[in-house]
Amino acid sequence: MTGMTARGEALRTQEMTINMGPQHPSTHGVLRVILTTDGEVVTRAVPDVGYLHRGLEKIGERVTYAQFMPFTDRLDYLAAMNCNCAWAWAVEKLAKIEVPERAEFLRVIVAELNRISSHLIAFGSFTADMGAFTPFLYAIRERERVNDLFEMICGNRLTYNYARIGGVSGDAPPGFLEKTKEFLDYFEPKIDEYNNLISYNKIFVHRLANVAVIPAEEAVAYGMTGPNLRGSGVPFDLRRDEPYSVYPKFDFKVCVGTGERGKLGDCFDRYMVRINEMRESVKIVRQALAQIPEGPVMAKVPRVFKPPAGETYFRSECPRGETGIYVVSDGSANPFRLKIRTGSFVTMNIFEKVTKGLMIADIVAVIGSFDIILPEIDR
């Protein structure tokens, strides 16, 4: 970018380096993005992660299998149920434990409810990032109801610690299933309200359409998963394509981006995938409520739990993509090695590539549309 001064000298402009974060309202936590900008246009945006590193994987090697459960709450605090269940499923796969069916149903119910509440936060904080604060509070309001349900079943509102190796910590208390149904009836019409309020708002659409387009093959190449991958039009959902738990019993649609307001794989597609997935989750929970069998909720697991030596990799569909748990056992009470693959972290790979040439306001939109969460990135 050069111009001429009045005296005919070449005018030199300088690129500006801005630190976005780690303390910034729209980076969804302590993400630091080093922006090199030419005015408002970002020429380079390098994410700098690691401000929230707590060494969860190392902690996992120091505590027993059962003791690690509360730590998975901290893996993705907006979808702690999903992480709980992922850890339980992984260890059960490692130790080949049969889980009672009722427990699996309860897990699926809470996991899908948590997917709804997590997508609500994704939707709400995204709209707040775009400058509309009201939908955020509506989303929080609905999420509170989910939290009420979770508090009822497990006793906590954020760090649920509900799943156990071999089952769940407690059967659904009386009234829980009915209240869940009530919530679904209340919640389903709200999705249309969100769409009317903001999703198809002209300004909102313009902010998102054609921003940070990720073609399908690129999304696959970069290892994106979950709604971000589906936003690029790849119909890949572990719940359907690599079914685990009781998911095969349910009929649901895998929502993919359609490019309805711009190019396929833009921010708007990723956003809409989440909105539509909330509907699908409602559908799954409804089916689960209808089919849930009676029975115990905990398998027989020895108090001092020592899985046989071996290793396993289990992946499950979390709201922010695939959460893969690789756990190696040496036959002792603690995992020998634990590695967690999270959706948000892998998604950050493509961040630098897609943000080239966007504006600062778009960076916020990209972060929001990826729906990253920092404890998942840094673990």
Binding site: M16, I18, H24, P25, S26, G39, E40, T127, A128, D129, M130, G131, A132, F133, T134, L137, Y138, R141, L197, I198, N201, I203, F204, H206, R207, M359, I360, A361, D362, V364
Partner: protein, 371 residues
């Protein structure tokens, strides 16, 4: 002012010995003080109402701890702002940093001078009223740019740059959208514009109903003015989710308070101009204010004017809590590709209408049909 001073001398003979210029000056100071007090009160109450409206819209309650039902929250806020430490960043340009809030505040406050609050309630009935408002509110851009530049903060600088581009771009559609009212009244004076809308029961004389073009220019003005005064959805200079807080990110204490007050002042000015130019100003429906005793006439017209203006402010708040924010290039595109051409077309339409129908609006034509 001098006339007012003269009448005051006539009214209170004791003042006869004092030179007239002294009294004029005193009257000026007094009326400025009255306007300032009004502006500050409005800004305080406005901030409270804004938060209450936000609460209502967002399914919550809003401030309700200070005073009955939170009514005194704005006092608490004001006291807090005054008492807070005034921090100047280490490497800021201290002079400009201190100066910037005054520019912004003065730019917004000076516009109150020509707002026609009632039949006789106007601090200064300038014959170039609208022009004056446009001119002094442009001062705000200088202040914001100074604030952004002097803070030695890149976010603030970006905010300042955005503000400059935005305010300069939107001044054109704002001006162009106000001109239809000027054309109808044949005067730039706000008082004259209000008076010109007095006919037909005080409702149908409004410029809003004058002709379709005038109606559209009201909408255009309202939109463009929100952008010019950095209200959501055009609050890019502040954009708390992108630029953290934009140009005022480094400000604290009363200096921040001045920015804050100016924001609400701007809000009122926009509403007041919309009221005066399109919604009949202080004209009371079905009542001839001029026929009433001056005190009652003034009070009634003041009430009506404030009622209309506050309704406009409420609508602005309502918009604010509904819409997301535009991106800076979209904002520019909206100005140059949509607002500017549309306002020009509108202006052309109004001019043609006035030419073809000899200055008569639709309601007048209907009224003349019925005799």
């Amino acid at each position: 002012m001098e006339a007012l001073a003269r009448s005051l001398v006539n009214f209170v003979p004791v003042l006869g010995g004092v030179p007239l210029w002294t009294i004029t000056l005193l009257v000026m100071v007094a009326s400025a003080a009255v306007v300032l007090v009004f502006a500050l009160t409005f800004e305080g109450v406005g901030s409270l109402v804004l938060r209450k409206v936000a609460g209502d819209i967002q399914a919550r309650i809003g401030p309700n701890r200070v005073g009955p039902n939170g009514m005194l929250q704005f006092l608490a806020d004001g006291v807090k702002l005054v008492l807070k430490e005034d921090i100047i960043p280490a490497r800021a340009d201290r002079l400009l940093f201190r100066l910037a809030p005054y520019f912004v505040f003065v730019g917004s406050f000076a516009a109150f001078v020509v707002v026609p609050f009632g039949v006789g309630l106007i601090a200064a009935d300038l014959n170039i009223g609208i022009y004056y408002v446009m001119a002094v509110t442009s001062l705000v851009v200088v202040g914001i740019l100074l604030a952004g530049w002097s803070s030695n903060n890149k976010w603030a600088l970006l905010g300042g740059m955005r503000a400059a581009a935005q305010i300069v771009s939107y001044e054109i559609p704002v001006g162009m959208a106000l001109i239809p009212a000027v054309l109808v009244a044949g005067s730039l004076s706000l008082q004259a514009i209000v008076k010109s809308q007095g006919g037909l029961f005080g409702i149908f004389g409004w410029n809003l109903f004058h002709d379709p073009f005038a109606f559209f220019s009201f909408l255009l003005y309202f939109t463009a003015a929100q952008a010019e005064t950095n209200q959501t959805p055009f609050d890019l200079p502040e954009a708390e989710s992108e630029l953290v807080s934009g140009y005022n990110v480094e400000y604290s204490g009363i200096r921040f308070g001045l920015f804050f007050l100016a924001e609400f002042g701007d809000m009122f000015i926009v509403a007041a101009l919309a009221t005066a130019c399109f919604l009949g100003g202080w004209n009371v429906p079905f009542v001839s204010v001029a026929a009433l005793p001056p005190v009652w006439g003034n009070l009634l017209s003041l009430g009506v004017f404030l009622g209309k203006a506050f309704t406009m402010v409420l609508i602005m708040m309502w918009v604010r809590w509904t819409l997301p924010r535009l991106r800076v290039d979209q904002l520019m595109r909206m100005s140059w590709k949509y607002m500017v051409p549309l306002t020009f077309v509108n202006l052309l339409g109004v001019s043609l209408w006035l030419l073809l129908f000899h200055g008569k609006g639709i309601p007048q034509m209907i009224a003349s049909l019925f005799g």
